[in-house]
C-alpha cells in the first residue's frame, strides 16, 4: 500500500523519511514479528461531506418523539443549551483522566464540584467522580458493602426490573442475593426483612422512588433495621426527588447511589449514562470506595489545587486487590450534571422537583377521574403506573398521535412518567387520548 495524504495523519507523506532515520527502508520491516494473514476490511473511505450525508441519511430513519410519557428511565427532562456548549469545549472533551494535576485543574475542579453537589443533594460527605450507570453503581455499592463488612449476602427489593437485576447479579456474582417481596405500594416489606435479616447480611438496598414511582417514606426504618445487625444501608435515590424530600443522609444511610441522567443529560437511547455513588464520612467505607475520587489539596507554593486521591484503592496500583476495575468512567457527563446543578442551584432544584411532583399528582388525579388507577398506592414522583388497560394496544394508539407511551410491566400495567417539560395541556391531551382509547376498546 502506498502512503497517501490524509487530513488526520500529518506525517503520512514523510513516513519514508522518518523510516530512514530509524535505519530501515521498508515499512514491513517494522512488522516482521507479526504473523502474516491476508484479509480485506472492505471499508470505503469517504470525504467529510459524504460521511455527513451518509450518517444523517441513516439516522433520519430514527423517530424523534415530541411528546414522551415513558416511565422507568431514561427520562425526557429539559437539557439547558449551555450544557452542550460547555462540555464540547475541546479542553474538556479531548482531555484524558487528569493524571497530571498541574495541567488538568479544570476537569479536577469540575469533578470536585460534582462530588460536592452530589454530597449536598444526598447529605452525604463523600462521592466519587462517577460510575458507568445506575445498575452498575448498585452493583458496586453491594460489593462495597461486602468488603466493608466481610459478609457475603445482600438484600434487594424484588420490585426492581429484571434488566437491572441482571446487571446486579453479574456484579455480585460471588455474593448471595436475597429478594424482598413488596407491599401494595411497591415498597419492600420491612416485616419480611426483619424476619430474615441477621449478621450474615452485608447490605440492604432499596430505592426512592421505587421502580413504580412511589416515594418510600420508610427509609428511616429500613436503615435502622440494617444497622441493628451492623449491615450497611444502601439507598438508590433519584437526584431530582432530593429537591423536595429529606435526603437519605438525614437518616443515616451508609451508601447512596443514583441515576445521574436526569441531571441535564439527554437520554440517547439509554446510551448517555451516569452512575452516582456517595458514602458517609467513615474511613472504613471511604477506603473501600470504587473509582476515581478528587480531593482538594495545595501546591508546594501554597496555592489551592485539586488532584486524584486515594489511588491506592485503584486498579493501576492495587491490581487484583483493587476496590473496582473501573478506569474510564463518565467524567464528561458528570461535568454536564455539575453544570446542570450549578444552573439550577438551591432554588432551581427545589422548583424543578416541585414541578415534577405537581405534574405527577395532576396526571394521577386525572387518571382517577376517568375511572383508571395506578397499580400501586402512595405518593408518586415522576413515574406512575396505569393498570387495567392493554398497554401494547394503548402504546400503538398513542403512537398514531405522535406520542411515546409507557413501559410494559405486564399485559395490563404500564409504567409512565411526566417531568417538568409536560405542560397542563400535554397532560390533558394525554388523558383525553386515554379516554378515547377506552371508549374505542
Amino acid at each position: 500500500m502506498d502512503f497517501f495524504i490524509h487530513p488526520y495523519i500529518p506525517n503520512a507523506l514523510i513516513l519514508k523519511e522518518m523510516l530512514k532515520e530509524v535505519g530501515i527502508e521498508n515499512i514491513n520491516d517494522l512488522f516482521n514479528d507479526v504473523p502474516k494473514v491476508n484479509f480485506d476490511l472492505n471499508i470505503p473511505i469517504l470525504d467529510e461531506y459524504s460521511i455527513y450525508k451518509e450518517v444523517k441519511s441513516i439516522l433520519s430513519k430514527n423517530k424523534v418523539y415530541k411528546k414522551c410519557f415513558m416511565g422507568g428511565g431514561p427520562w425526557f427532562h429539559f437539557v439547558p443549551s449551555i450544557i452542550k456548549y460547555l462540555i464540547t469545549r475541546g479542553e474538556f472533551l479531548t482531555s484524558y483522566t487528569p493524571y497530571q494535576p498541574e495541567v488538568s485543574q479544570g476537569v479536577l475542579q469540575a469533578l470536585f464540584e460534582f462530588q460536592s453537589m452530589i454530597c449536598e443533594l444526598y447529605n452525604m460527605e463523600v462521592a466519587n467522580a462517577s460510575l458507568y450507570d445506575f445498575p452498575t453503581a448498585i452493583g458496586e455499592a453491594i460489593l462495597l458493602s461486602s468488603r466493608v463488612t466481610g459478609r457475603r449476602k445482600v438484600i434487594i427489593p424484588s420490585s426492581i426490573p429484571e434488566d437491572r437485576k441482571s446487571v446486579i447479579r453479574n456484579y455480585a456474582i460471588n455474593l448471595e442475593i436475597i429478594e424482598v417481596p413488596f407491599l401494595d405500594n411497591g415498597c419492600p416489606d420491612l416485616e419480611y426483612i426483619k424476619k430474615i435479616i441477621n449478621k450474615d447480611i452485608a447490605g440492604v438496598y432499596t430505592e426512592i422512588p421505587n421502580f413504580f414511582g412511589v416515594i418510600d417514606f420508610k427509609i428511616k426504618e429500613l436503615i435502622e433495621i440494617a444497622h441493628e445487625v451492623e449491615a450497611l444501608a444502601i439507598i438508590g435515590a433519584d437526584p431530582l426527588l432530593m429537591g423536595i424530600i429529606k435526603p437519605p443522609g438525614d437518616y443515616g444511610a451508609d451508601i447512596v447511589v443514583g441515576d445521574g441522567q436526569p441531571l441535564g443529560i439527554p437520554p440517547a437511547m439509554g446510551g448517555n449514562s451516569l452512575g452516582i455513588i456517595a458514602c458517609k464520612n467513615d474511613m472504613r467505607i471511604i477506603r473501600q470506595m470504587p473509582g476515581r475520587i478528587v480531593g482538594m489539596t495545595k501546591t508546594i507554593r501554597g496555592e489551592r489545587a485539586f488532584t486524584l486521591v486515594l489511588s491506592t484503592r485503584e486498579q493501576h496500583i492495587r491490581r487484583e486487590k483493587a476496590t473496582s476495575n473501573i478506569c474510564t468512567n463518565e467524567t464528561l457527563l458528570a461535568i454536564a450534571a455539575t453544570i446542570y446543578m450549578a444552573l439550577l442551584g438551591k432554588e432551581g432544584i427545589k422548583r424543578i422537583a416541585k414541578r415534577i411532583f405537581h405534574n405527577t399528582q395532576y396526571v394521577i388525579k386525572r387518571i382517577k377521574e376517568i375511572g383508571l388507577d395506578t397499580a400501586f398506592k402512595g405518593l408518586h414522583f415522576r413515574d406512575f403506573t396505569i393498570k387495567g388497560i392493554n398497554i401494547k394496544k394503548l402504546n400503538k394508539f398513542l403512537k398514531e398521535k405522535e406520542i411515546l407511551g409507557g413501559r410494559e410491566i405486564s399485559e395490563n400495567i404500564g409504567l409512565f412518567a411526566v417531568t417538568e417539560i409536560h405542560k397542563k395541556e400535554d397532560i390533558d391531551e394525554f388523558i383525553d387520548l386515554l379516554k378515547e382509547f377506552i371508549r374505542r376498546n
Partner: protein
Amino acid sequence: MISLEPLIFELSKKGRIGLYIEDCEIEEIPKEFLREELNLPEVSQIEVVRHFTRLSQMNWGVDTGPYPLGSCTMKYNPRINEELSWMDEIQWIHPLQDIDDIQGILEIMYKLEKMLSSITGMKRFSLQPAAGAHGEFTGCLIIRKYHKDRGEDRDEMIIPDSAHGTNPASAAMAGFKVIEIPTNEEGLVDIEALKSTVGKRTAGMMLTNPNTLGLFERNIKEITEIVHDAGGLMYYDGANLQGILGIARPGDMGFDIVHLNLHKTFSTPHGGGGPGSGPIGVNELLEDYLPVPVVDFDGNKYYLNWNLPKTIGKVRNWYGSIPVLVKAYSYLLSMGSNGLKLSCYASVVNTNYFMKKVSQIRGFTIPFGNAYRKHEVVISAEKLAKETGVTALDIAKALIDKGLHPPTIYFPPIVKEALMFEFTDTETKENIDKYIEALKEISDIAYSNPEILKKCPNKTLIGRVDEVYANHPKTMCLSYKMYLRKIKENI
C-alpha cells in the same frame, strides 16, 4: 489559600439562579419529610458560563497540544463525529421505542459491529460494555459461564506482570484467582513459565498484543496453543490494537474474546476520563454467551435480539454508549481500510523514530532491548534517577514547563522510572522532535543542576501539587462539605 478560580459554591449569592423555572405549590408531602436544607450554589447563567469556561481553560486536551499518554491512544477527535453524535435522532431517542422507530441507530450498530468483526477477525460483537475495563469484566463473565456450562471447575486467570491493572482487577471481580506470569528478558511472555503455570484450573489468559511495552508477542500462536491445550480461553485486551490495526487480527492469532476501546483506537474523545465504549467480540464458540440484546437483521429490518440461549445477561442498562458508537462509525468511514492501515503505520513509525532518537540521550534507556516497537515505547529513566536523583515524575513536570504534556509514568510496573510514550498517528513530526529536544535539555539540566527540576513545573497556573497533603487522613478533603467542616475545625 490562593485560588485561580473560586469554587462555584464560593460564587454563590442568595437570590440568583441560572435557569428560569416557574415556581409552584405542593401540599401532599407530610411536613416531617419535606426538604429544608439544600446547600447548592446560587449563581446566574453568565456566572455559570464564565466559571466553566475558565475551568476549561485550565485544562489540557488533544485540541490544546500533543498528548502522548502511553496506553491511551490520544488521537485527534474529529469534530464531524462529535457533531453527528449530537443529532436529535441520537440524543432524543428512547431505548424502548418501537423497532420501526429506531431503524437508523440499529443500522449503525449493525454496520459498526460488522466492521469491528472484520477488523478483529471475530464472529460477533456486543456493543454494550461502557469502557475497556467493563469489556474485560464482561469477557471474564463469559469465560466463567463457558467453563461452568461444561461442568468444569476452572478458577485461575493467567495474566502477565506487564498487563494493565484493569486486567487483574476485572478477573478478580468475576471471581477468578489471578496468576501472574513473568516477562522474559526480551519483554515478552515467558513461555516456559506459562507452560508450567497452565493446568486443570486454568480458565484463561488475558493478554494485550502489542503488550504494554509496545512489543508484539511474536510467539502468540504458541501461547494461544498452550492455553487452549490446557482447556483455557484466550482474552485479548484491545487497548493496544492501534499497533497492528489493519495489519493483523486477534481472531487470526487464536484469541477467543476481544475488547476494543472505541475511545482509543477509534478516535472517540476521552472526555476527561469518559464516557468510553468497550465492545467485546467473540468467536463462534462463545457467540451465544454475549450480553443481550444484540442487533440482528432479518433481511428487511434491524432488530434487538434477546434470544441468546447461553447469555450472561446484562452488564449495564440498555444497549451501549450510543453516541460513542456513532462517533466510531463516522471515524471508520473517514479512514476506510487503507486509512486504518495508514494510521497504524504512522503511529508505529512515529514511535520507532522517537525511540531511536531518545535512546541516544544520556540517562535514558530502552528496557528489554532495541527491537522495534509498535504504537508505543516505554523508556526508563532509572539511570538518570540513580545518577542525578531526577525521577520520572520530575521529568514529567519539567516537560509540562516546556509546554508538552507528559507521557504515562510509572507504568507498566515492571519498568523502573517508566515513561511510556504513545505518539499516535495524528501527531506531527515537529512535535515529536520537540519532545526529543526537551528530553535532551532535561537530561542536561539533570546532570548539571538537578535541583531545578525538583521544583517544576513553574510555568503552569499552579505549582507542583502536594500529593501527601491530599491523601493524609487529617488533611484529606473530598467535598465542599468536608472543606467547610475543616475550616471550622481549623485544619
